[in-house]
């Protein structure tokens, strides 16, 4: 039966993940005060994406889940990105 199949992640690995996340947070904040023009938003979003990827794969155990689930999660994000992009086809070309 498909019970208790979740992979166990060691404490150390979790705390390492936290350190990386904290570091990335630090980077976002410092970069925000540097003026990069239009890139600021892009960089902030990029870092946020990296962070959420780390949370998803480590904290949420996605790294160890079935391929199917990983694909589904990916598709949800792609769908959302498509919806935003398509809405912008209207707003960007007004």
């Amino acid at each position: 039966m498909a019970n208790n199949t979740t992979h166990t992640i060691e404490y150390q690995s979790l705390s390492k993940t936290l350190l990386i996340l904290l570091f990335l947070t630090f980077v976002t904040i410092t970069i925000a005060s540097v003026h990069l023009g239009a890139f600021t938003l892009a960089v902030a979003l990029l870092i946020a994406c990296v962070k959420s990827f780390i949370v998803l794969s480590n904290f949420m155990h996605l790294k160890y889940e079935s391929l199917l689930l990983r694909i589904l999660v990916g598709m949800v994000f792609v769908l959302f990105a498509l919806i935003v992009a398509i809405t912008f086809i209207d707003y960007a070309f007004r």
Binding site: A2, L68, T87
Partner: protein, 536 residues
Amino acid sequence: MSNVSANSEYVSYLDHHGKYKGIMSWIMATDHKRIALLYMYSIMTFFIIGVVLGIMMKLEMLTPGETIMKAKMYNSVFTLHGILMIFMVVIPGLSAVFGNFFLPIHIGAKDVSFPKLNRFSWWIFVVGSIMAVLSQVLKDGPPDTGWTFYAPYSTTTSSNVIMATAAAFVLGFSSILTGLNFIVTIHQLRAPGMKFFNMPLFPWALYATAWIQLLATPVIGITLLMLIAERAFHIGFFDPALGGDPLLFQHLFWIYSHPAVYVMMLPAMGVITEIIPTFCQRQIYGYKAVAVSSLAIAGVGFLVWGHHMYTSGMSDTARWFFSLLTFIVAVPSAIKVFNWITTMYKGSIDVKPPFLYALAFIFLFIIGGTTGLLLGSVATNVQVHDTAFVVAHFHYIIFGGMGFAFFAAIHYWLPKMYGRMYDFKMANIGLVINFIGFNLLYFPQFVIGIQGMPRRYFDYPAKFQPAQLVSSIGGFILVTGLIIMIYTLVKGARKGAPAPANPWRGSTLEWQIPSPPSVENFDEEPVIKENPYDYK
């Protein structure tokens, strides 16, 4: 085929009470079959109210000017008619009734994955429905925004918009939970040996539907929350007087509501895909194409919402983009139609009521679908957008399509659900009257739509009267047919002759168990065939 009397353990799900007695044994039921019936009875109730409202509109349309009601009343009537029919009848319709009943059986399971959640979905469906009814009677008066709740009218009118939108929110939540339950059920509970590609096609359709319910509904949820906040706190997302953008509301609304039309349609297509092979005694033609086209419709269907907004002042780039995608999403529907008709080729066709309903469905669906193409093309949309043409399009497709599919389904599965048979002759008479009435009711709407008759018009120029008259007459014929049909079905379900386990010689799993099914559906583990439509 299991023999009913020989099996001493057999208890029909209709007789098995569980912990509770009487009505509680229904309200507290977790059995997917009982929940399906609960849904059916509640949906039927709302459907009948909706039909009455529809007929009231037709009476009002008999003559220009005031016929039986005032403009304010008319506006509330079509609003309630739309909310009721869309959110409470056709969106839950097929998936919550027949999906609940037959999905677990089709995949060889005893129940859905989360039976309690399933019961909870029905409860909040009821709560949402009660809220919708309350919105009609509370102090500020029934909402008069149309089912689309377009801002800024919906943010400024003094009627009960908050209650109505909250009701739609709750109903959406119910829809999400049903979808969630079905996806998990299909992933986890398929009988050993049943791969995705030897699932029957009705579960396939439900699977695609469930993904739409799951992923599109939250968007309308948040949109309605924003609308409520807009009214309560003037947060100004949509109201131009506060700096908001009414077009943004339309985008958000249709991001959900276009995919939602496929929530209505995909299960209907699934039903037809079950019926045709059974009555032709032939395996479905192009199994894989039909299965995959459901997913394709669901997927691409997410990206075409803008075709409701061609004239709203959207950018020209967006107009062609949405038009192009709209046309692409029509192709998988066409594939299904071709496959159904090819399945009849060299079959052994048994013309029984369910099959006749399926044929009527195909005919009406083609009309509804191809008029959708006229709407999807930008130039012609400009002419017929927001006219009676659109009204005719969606009535053809929603209830010529989804409605007739529902009727087909009920004629197909009633013997299984109640273990009794209905009168074929009466059913056929009902069908013919329905079909004639339906076309009389809605075909004239295409004509006056092309001539410019706008929709949601309480009053109209006298030149449209002849067509409106024909249409109103059609409405009455349709209702007559409907009454005959319901009478036949109710009589069959209560007093009909006992039905055999497999009256139509179907090949899918529900026909291998007794009618009505036992509480646990299967006494022994079902045997899974390579091809669910194996008639050799």
